[in-house]
Symmetry: none
Subunit: 224 residues, 2 copies
């Protein structure tokens, strides 16, 4: 599990790093708010420990900024101050938990694990067209209730078609977006369209993946 620790006091930061590494975490450090914000944006962290009193950008603003950017990494806030007001403030800004210094090391680890267990709020996005459903994250395709096994190329092709369902897409477009070339033999598209049809078309049902002679292909969606 990968954790970003944003803490300006060097001794505290070093202690946290050692301790968390001993617990099996992969630890990155940032020593001010700007650095922390930057690292949080570009690294994929499972959880984040964020001090409030920081040079350049305060922990409050780091948190606020990340949430504004739709970054939902679980955040545990640390503060030297005490009082309910601070805590409510931090939680309002989108932190997931809050700890007041001095804190017990055991408690910190326990709460980090609690955050990890809950997980970040993630967005489920499933693409649909007709009775076809494609989940890019899970890399899973179903027709109705039955799962469909696709090779990577087939999957990429179907994803492109389903994103443009009900539109006619030319073989050239497909080559550009799925194969990343434009001067290959378009026959390869025909071949893969054939593969897809064998896997996603139900016998005795109208074809979901239609040929538009001279123009390209169209994947029929529910709307039209």
């Amino acid at each position: 599990m990968r954790v970003l620790v944003v803490e300006d006091e060097r001794r505290m930061a070093a202690a946290l790093r050692r301790g968390l590494q001993a617990e099996g975490f992969v630890v990155d450090l940032a020593h001010d708010g700007e650095d922390g914000l930057h690292q949080a944006r570009h690294g994929e962290y499972d959880v984040m420990v964020l001090d409030i009193m920081l040079p350049r950008i305060s922990g409050y603003n780091v948190c606020k900024q990340l949430r504004a950017e739709e970054n939902w990494v679980p955040i545990l806030m640390l503060s030297a101050k005490d009082g309910e007001y601070d805590m409510a403030d931090g939680l309002d800004l989108g932190a997931d938990d809050y700890l007041t210094k001095p804190f017990s090391y055991v408690v910190l680890v326990a709460r980090l694990r609690a955050l990890l267990r809950r997980g970040a709020h993630r967005r489920p996005s499933v693409l649909r067209a007709g009775d076809l459903a494609l989940d890019p994250a899970r890399r899973r395709v179903t027709r109705g209730e039955t799962p469909v096994e696709l090779t990577p190329r087939e999957f990429a092709l179907l994803e492109f078609l389903i994103r443009h369902h009900d539109e006619v897409v030319s073989k050239t477009e497909i080559l550009e977006h799925v194969w990343d070339t434009f001067d290959t033999d378009p026959n390869v598209v025909e071949v893969y369209v054939g593969y897809l049809r064998r896997k996603i078309d139900v016998p005795f049902s109208r074809n979901a993946l239609q040929t538009v002679r001279g123009a390209g292909y169209r994947l029929a969606g529910d709307g039209g």
Copy 2:
């Protein structure tokens, strides 16, 4: 044993703390329902004493909320003698025991110990996927009823996979989160996936740890 006491009357709270500490418990206090809910969520308590009449959020709702979040910490409820709710109400909402004020410490402690002995309904602190269970705190893994011995690296890999069960995770993602590098030979992931399979895959059963060629790996989990 770690106990969380949620009680708004300061005198009563202080008395409970002293009494329970004398019995050898580690005691945390919360003075209203919101605080109590928060602490219960983020701390790992072995048992919880929860007053019903509380500012902000009632004890009933704290309990209900925790159970809705699959938090199965044993809860002992406290009520004033003339409360508007009765015992059946509290137990219906998922409390494990119920005491009416005034009560004797001896009885309180006896019932807490009984709860601890009985254990919670279930320990939800473990991650699950299919018949695999991984307890991050105890660093323990079981397949069904049988324990599985894992090395630290294997454990970290399985933890990452189980947290993303049903999703396809690429070797690069795995390298970043488990190995803390991104430019190492991905073959090391393949090797460790192989190790894991030998330890967690049951013969004659469908593979829990599936290869998604060209994309990564997916740990199959049954909704949990």
